[in-house]
Amino acid sequence: MSTFIRAEFHIHTVLSPCADIEMIPPLIVEQALSRNIHLIAITDHNHTANIEAVQKAAEGTPLKVLPGMELQTSEEVHVLCLFEKLEQAKAFQKIVDEHLPNLENNIDFFGEQFVVDETGDFLRREERLLLTSTSLNLHQAWEEVQALGGLFIPAHVNRKAFGLLPTLGMIPLDTPIEIVEISRDLPKEKVCELYPQICSTPFIQSGDAHFLDDILGWNHLWIPEISLKEISLAIQSLSPQRHQIISD
């Protein structure tokens, strides 16, 4: 028995300096639910500090919050790293911390990096610059995420800034990437025509939400239970009975 789940896999909070100040846990939860989205992933740049707050804000609601991160590899490729449990994301954070350069965030240039609680109240500022590359290369990052049981989805692969295809030209042969994310501004029908090198790779399209209005929920899944395994299987399935992108 599969259930219909509408999902948004790419959401930034106020921890991402580029995200709007309204991207706080209660508003993200409210917005998702108002659009009948029951599955989201929180994916801040190189950091996981606000995930738990969003999970707490979603407690008692039908919304499930997956822990994630938008990692920036040494080649300047952005990758959504999704996990099932918070502990996995925290373990990944430790690895990322070791590979993040010790630079201080310059608020004037990049913006604020707020860690907040489940009500959206200020807890602290993340002092380390998050909008930068880690020293993990794509393959190393893939290995780390695999080892932790996570899902590795290169983000907006068609985008010139931080997208895998412009930066690396093609999916590296040594890194068996199963799913990619295509920017929402590229109609799904055009993917094969413009990017034959990923034509056979299953893809998602996400809001890459920096504002509440970007929480789109274009991915429609029919899965027996919410787990990374089922999500991954549904997206990779050729059957439209399991995954559809509906850009409404």
């Binding site: 080649e75 393959h139 010139k160 412009p166 030209g169 042969l173």
Partner: protein
């Protein structure tokens, strides 16, 4: 263009990462620099020399595809051992240098290398 890869390697004091070649026989047609592989695929002239700080495995595929004369990896970036192995396998010549891409491009230009092939 009579400039050889040997002259370039010696003048710029480049470190050869791949197996030794008869580099006096190799005459790059032009120079090209970018770190975005999609740009390189579209823009680097055949048998040119490519300057980049990108050390990812995919540079080998691009260099082999375009039959580039050599790749100069700048700013001390180091490819992984399996990348160098792949380069040897595909006959791609890799150099490394601590110098910046700007400096390498400038010095190659001084030596007479240009942006597009003078032979074509």
């Amino acid at each position: 263009m009579n400039l050889t890869l040997g002259q370039i390697a010696k003048t710029l004091n480049l470190d050869l990462l791949t197996q030794s070649v008869d580099w006096e026989e190799i005459r790059p047609t032009a120079g090209y620099t970018s770190d975005m592989l999609s740009c390189v695929m579209a823009g680097a002239p055949h048998r040119s020399i490519w300057i980049t700080l990108q050390a990812h495995m995919n540079i080998i595929a691009v260099a082999a595809l375009l039959e580039l004369s050599a790749v100069i990896i700048t700013e001390g970036a180091q490819p992984e051992p399996n990348t160098i192995e792949k380069a040897n396998e595909k006959g791609v010549i890799l150099f490394s240098t601590k110098a910046s891409s700007f400096e390498v491009a400038g010095r190659l230009w001084e030596m007479g290398l240009r942006a597009v092939s003078s032979e074509e």
